[in-house]
């Protein structure tokens, strides 16, 4: 195996991993600041200027707390739960193209860990696996509330996965490929998929909210009914991992939405910009644009959380099965007809 290849992938994975963790860390800070802004408060402002050291203080606190494992819990699975949640959250970034190829010493270095030709399905698989962390942790706690929460998480994820898959099918009808790299390359400049698939994007976004267990879909950790839900019995860094995994999931699903529907690293007049600067700089500008889109989505996630109240459980199921799935199927049929007509004439 080529040593350069190994080094470049190793670096890319390390950088991506640290970026995910740092973004997740500062999302907790951003969440509290956004909440404060929306509720006309100040938010955390004690640790460092504007409270920017708050996430470090919180992390330290999580590590120092006493760790409690309930005596009747299934010990091994109790530990597997948070680990699985973190693992599933972190592996999603592997197939996302973070920018155009860089050229270093005459070698084209792709800013993507791997370009498998079933990239979209891989992401989908990671999403569907994500629920195991919650389910195993909730069951292993040996607590009625945690068990109820685990059951809720399972049924919610299964329900919204169907609509999510159907909304992606309409997109794939247009792109004709499952490789994320090609899907992004097709959206060059202004040809973002959201312009052609607005309904599909709306369904996909709602389902992402449900899959990441964010408000208004955070029924598995509904405090008013289930105390803390699946992490009721967790303490110390195990609890920290669950909370952290949620923020990494938010980051990954923002990146997926930006990649699939909002053009990834593409932006209008990118060809003009590419003419002015060197190719490597142009690629890096694209990466910065992608991150701006991701941050915009993360902000949107928080904005929704502090604006819309939580659903009731039957409302959640009705929305998923009677609202989103028929809409997604209609979207597939309309997209199919339009494509057939356009190809005919």
């Amino acid at each position: 195996m080529d040593i350069n290849f190994v080094i470049e992938k190793f670096l890319l994975v390390t950088i991506l991993f640290s970026i995910s963790l740092v973004i997740a860390m500062y999302s907790t800070y951003a969440e509290r600041k956004v909440a404060a802004f929306l509720q006309d408060r100040l938010g955390p402002d004690r640790a460092g200027p504007f409270g920017i050291l708050q996430p470090l203080a919180d992390g330290l606190k999580m590590f120092m707390k006493e760790e409690i494992i309930p005596s009747n819990a299934s010990k091994w699975l109790f530990m597997v739960g948070p680990g699985l949640a973190m693992l599933c959250a972190c592996i999603g970034t592997a197939v996302i193209p973070w920018g155009q190829d860089l050229t270093i010493n005459g070698r084209a270095v792709p800013l993507q860990v791997t370009d498998i030709n079933v990239g979209v399905l891989y992401l989908f698989g990671v999403v569907s696996l994500g629920v195991y962390g919650v389910m195993i942790g909730g069951w292993a706690s040996n607590n009625k509330y945690s068990l109820l929460s685990a059951i809720r998480a399972a049924s919610q994820n299964i329900s919204y996965e169907v609509a999510m898959g159907l909304s992606i099918i309409a997109l794939l009808l247009m792109t004709n490929t499952l490789s994320l790299k090609e899907i992004v390359a097709q959206q060059h400049g202004w040809h973002w998929n959201v312009l052609y698939q607005p309904l599909g994007f709306l369904i996909f976004m709602i389902c992402s909210f449900a899959e990441t267990n964010r408000a208004p879909f955070d029924l598995p950790e509904c405090e008013t009914e289930l105390i803390g839900g699946y992490h009721t019995e967790y303490s110390s860094m195990k609890l920290g991992f669950y909370l952290f995994a949620e923020y990494i999931n938010m980051f990954v699903s923002s990146a997926v939405m930006a990649t699939l529907y909002f053009g990834g690293y593409n932006y209008p007049w990118m060809d003009t910009v590419a003419g002015l600067v060197s190719p490597n700089t142009a690629a890096l500008i694209g990466t910065v644009v992608l991150f701006i889109k991701i941050f915009a989505f993360i902000f949107f996630f928080m904005w929704v959380r502090w604006t819309i109240p939580r659903f009731r459980y039957d409302q959640l199921m009705n929305l998923g099965w009677k609202g989103l799935i028929p809409l997604a199927i209609a979207n597939i049929i309309i997209t199919g007809i339009v494509i057939a007509v356009v190809n005919k004439f």
């Binding site: 030709n117 399905l121 891989y122 698989g125 068990l147 059951i151 399972a154 299964i158």
Partner: protein
């Protein structure tokens, strides 16, 4: 390297599937079954069938097993309220399992006599080729199996509806 990976993963598959049967706790059983399916996914990747691998991952590991786990958690089975199985049921189980074993061994013997199967196209498992095969020469069986699934789905919905009327 491919062969040694195969033997390693195959050993894991066998160990995990044995654990499915031997673990006392139904939830642990299902978790081992999930691991077994994961090893199957690795097998598909080794066979260069990426699409099948990822679909196995999504459908079996991500959906069906979540439902299994969901149902088991709802039932909340444990050792105390497990019904005692009579000796007759146990004997019947042994006979049924033995029959299955004999059938499987017989069929595998028949396979080994023939020359080993060689794929004409090693890239058959990639999504484009698989799609062309499914919607080309195998169109009819593919559509028939989808109708079969639809029938099962409609039947299940119908059964729950009837029960509702009887109750109300």
């Amino acid at each position: 390297m491919g062969t040694s990976v195969f033997y390693f993963v195959a050993t894991l598959s066998i160990i995990f599937s044995l654990m499915v049967i031997f673990s006392k706790n139904p939830i642990h059983s299902v978790l081992y079954l999930i691991l077994t399916f994961f090893t199957f996914t690795v097998h598909y990747v080794l066979l260069n069938a990426q699409f099948l691998a990822v679909v196995n991952f999504i459908v079996y590991m991500g959906a069906i097993m979540v439902l299994f786990l969901f149902v088991l958690m709802l039932l909340n089975l444990n050792k105390e309220n497990e019904p005692n199985k009579s000796a007759l049921v146990k004997i019947l189980g042994v006979i049924a399992g033995g029959c299955l074993l004999v059938t499987l061994v017989g069929s595998f013997k028949a396979v080994s006599i023939n020359s080993p199967l060689v794929l004409q196209n090693p890239n058959l498992g990639l999504v484009k080729n698989l799609g062309k095969e499914l919607f080309g020469p195998f169109m009819l069986p593919f559509e028939l199996s989808s109708i079969l699934l639809l029938t099962a789905m409609v039947g299940a919905v119908l059964l729950t509806k009837k029960e509702e009327k009887a109750n109300g």
